[in-house]
């Protein structure tokens, strides 16, 4: 099954689910001719129709990355999710230094250079955005 057929199938399911979900929206006391359901139903309809079109007339397969590159992307996403979850626990400077170093390493820096870039990026952003521009960044237990 080509990628586009899968995309179309997912879109179609999403569209139908969206329409069904829209019909479940509770209407309030305020009534106007349109109501809260109609527009989402139209949108879901467009989504389903467009997806059906893609399903029936798919484009040629895109060149997906090979397995090892997929791992890189999954790893990068994991780093970013971890960053989001632990940012407030460890504070901006530490979290950013670690996340930036990991990303830089996976993009091909030597390990020690990755550590240097990570710390540099973190301190650079902290200096510019917090110290100079006064933006509030997440404070960790250490106060930065």
């Amino acid at each position: 099954m080509s990628s586009d057929r899968l995309l179309g199938a997912i879109g179609l399911i999403l569209g139908v689910a969206f329409i069904w979900s829209a019909t479940q929206i509770e209407t309030g006391f305020i009534v106007d001719p349109l109501g809260p359901r109609t527009f989402p139903v139209i949108v879901g309809g467009v989504l389903a129709l467009a997806s059906l079109f893609i399903l029936l007339r798919p484009d040629p397969k895109p060149d997906w990355p090979i397995a090892s590159r997929w791992m890189e992307i999954v790893a990068a996403v994991a780093v970013l999710i971890g960053y989001s979850l632990f940012l407030e626990e460890v504070g901006f400077v530490v979290a950013t230094a670690i996340a930036a170093a990991l990303l830089s390493w996976r993009l091909g820096s030597r390990l020690h250079w990755a550590v240097v870039s990570g710390i540099g990026i973190s301190l650079g952003i902290y200096a510019i955005f917090h110290l100079v521009l006064g933006l509030s960044l997440a404070k960790g237990p250490l106060g930065f």
């Binding site: 990628s3 995309l7 969206f18 979900s21 829209a22 929206i25 509770e26 209407t27 309030g28 305020i30 106007d32 001719p33 349109l34 809260p36 527009f39 989402p40 949108v43 879901g44 467009v46 989504l47 467009a50 997806s51 079109f53 893609i54 007339r57 484009d59 895109p62 997906w64 590159r69 890189e72 992307i73 990068a76 996403v77 970013l80 999710i81 960053y83 989001s84 979850l85 940012l87 901006f92 950013t96 996340a99 930036a100 170093a101 990303l103 830089s104 996976r106 993009l107 091909g108 820096s109 990755a114 870039s117 990026i121 973190s122 650079g124 952003i125 955005f129 933006l135 960044l137 997440a138």
Partner: protein
């Protein structure tokens, strides 16, 4: 001479030290962002909006900063096109055709100076055009009722894929996805919850800035992870950066024609800067290529598309400011910024906040002059920027994006959402689904529904009000034509993109 008085007022607003400083910073950042392969005007501006907002800049200064970035990025895109044959952004693609051969012939400095001049001519003429035509379009906009606005939004979505769109099914899917995301949260007029699944974070809906930064910036980082920063440019040497007067004279016609075509392409919904520079190049080739020198380093083949892409950047501001309907990716991002600042573009903007509009137009003139000064004598500095390797640049982009989003709400839920949009954006880009309609859908979804609601309230539920006026019928017809035409014409008008660079490029 209404316009002159208005402009004088605008310069009054723009010519403060703070605003001049912001314009300078914006131009500098913009040129750098434009020059870096992989970062273009839309993701550049996208990263900076949350920052400008959290810094608490008032409307006019924020607008000046970000439009300077926008114009700057249009200038900067040419630098890597000419020097390393990798366009910094999609509109700069046509500049590689004759710019890179010029650089290979040892005329890199001349090519940079010439293209800088052409960019200046293009944006300067287009900015004059904005001052002249935007108020005229406002007169037209006053004729719009809710039904006409609903038709206009549909028109914007139908044409956003552009004449060069490869697959209209995917454009429509993207628009529906965006509109669907906009439905999440409490419905403003009836107070009912929609698609929130009981999650309190979703009650207020999804902040479009989170979606924009995720879709544009984070997906870009993921694309770089996939390619592991391949194709890093190596050192480039520059000779003297001047352009002989005779060459300038020879290119004068090319610049003028390029500016005119680019400006019109910019105003048209959905055409955008890429098409502007593409048509400018193709037409110049037809007119001037007597000796078959185009594609081999003919300066006119560089001047025309450069003037064209910068002129269309100016032209694209007209529908965005006067109707509130953007015609390209970057103007959609600029619209996001206006909405963040609580400024609703449209006819009322010109009546209620003339200082914002004319201050902005004055700032564009100022930014243009700053950019000209930066990009001709000082271009050597920006060439250094190309040496920054992606393994430092991309982590920085990811982290600055996170800082902006966290700064907005202080919520880690938004950070997770941003990463989610990044993953979604990456998959959709791989699958050739355009991202701009998604953004526009998220931005305009609620307004579109409100206009439909108002129209139906006026008519007491009679749907025929949507096509009751000649203006509405005209808009619907244009929407249908705009949606169907690319399926027929697309293969003739589509700029030929090398498959490998196409996915990595930022749409204007």
């Amino acid at each position: 001479m209404d316009i002159l008085t208005n402009l004088a007022q605008g310069f009054d607003v723009a010519l403060t030290w703070q605003n001049l400083g912001l314009a300078l910073i914006g131009c500098l950042l913009g040129t750098i962002i434009g020059a870096l392969p992989g970062l273009g005007p839309s993701n550049g501006v996208a990263i900076l909006i949350p920052l400008a907002f959290t810094l608490g800049l008032p409307a006019t200064p924020a607008l000046i900063l970000l439009t300077s970035v926008y114009y700057g990025a249009m200038y900067g895109g040419r630098i890597s096109s000419i020097l390393i044959n990798i366009p910094g952004d999609e509109p700069a693609l046509m500049s590689t055709l004759d710019g890179y051969p010029m650089a290979r012939q040892g005329k890199a400095g001349e090519a940079l100076a010439l293209s800088g001049t052409a960019s200046f001519v293009g944006s300067f003429l287009a900015t004059i055009g904005v001052a002249l035509f935007a108020p005229l379009l406002v007169q037209v906009a006053l004729l719009f009722g809710p039904a006409e606005y609903f038709a206009l939004f549909t028109l914007a979505f139908a044409t956003l894929g552009g004449v060069s769109s490869a697959n209209q099914g995917k454009s429509a899917m993207a628009a529906a996805l965006g509109l669907g995301i906009a439905m999440i949260g409490i419905d403003g007029s009836t107070g009912t919850q929609r698609f929130t699944f009981g999650n309190i974070h979703l009650l207020e809906g999804i902040d479009f800035l989170v979606a924009i930064v995720g879709l544009f910036a984070i997906s870009e980082v993921l694309l770089f992870m996939e390619h592991k920063g391949e194709g890093t440019p190596s050192g480039v040497k520059l000779d003297r950066i001047t352009v002989p007067l005779s060459t300038l004279r020879r290119c004068f016609g090319a610049m003028m024609r390029g500016s005119g075509i680019g400006f019109i392409a910019g105003i048209l919904p959905g055409a955008g800067a890429s098409l502007g520079s593409f048509v400018a190049y193709t037409m110049e080739k037809r007119i001037s290529d007597g000796n078959k020198t185009f594609g081999k380093g003919d300066p006119r083949g560089l001047a025309a598309p450069e003037a064209g892409n910068n002129a269309s950047a100016g032209g694209a501001l007209i529908p965005m400011l006067s109707l509130g309907v953007p015609g390209s990716g970057t103007t959609a991002v600029l619209l996001a910024m206006l909405l963040t600042l609580n400024i609703t573009p449209g006819p009322l903007l010109f009546q209620n906040n003339p200082d914002v509009v004319w201050g902005l137009i004055a700032a564009l003139f100022i930014a243009n002059i700053i950019l000209f000064a930066m990009n001709v004598p000082l271009v050597g500095l920006f060439v250094q920027v190309l040496q920054v390797p992606p393994r430092v640049l991309m982590p920085t982009v990811a982290m600055v994006s996170a800082v902006g989003i966290y700064g907005l709400s202080g919520s880690t839920f938004d950070l997770l959402l941003m990463v989610g949009f990044g993953v979604g954006g990456y998959m959709l880009r791989k699958l050739d689904v355009p991202l701009v309609p998604i953004i526009l859908g998220i931005l305009l979804g609620n307004q579109m529904e409100d206009n439909l609601r108002r129209a139906l309230t006026i008519s007491n539920g009679d749907w025929s009000i949507l096509w009751a006026s000649p203006l509405a019928i005209a808009l619907w017809s244009l929407a249908v034509i705009g949606f169907v035409a690319p399926m027929i014409l697309g293969r003739f008008l589509r700029p030929e993109l090398p498959a490998s660079t196409a996915e990595a490029l930022d749409t204007d």
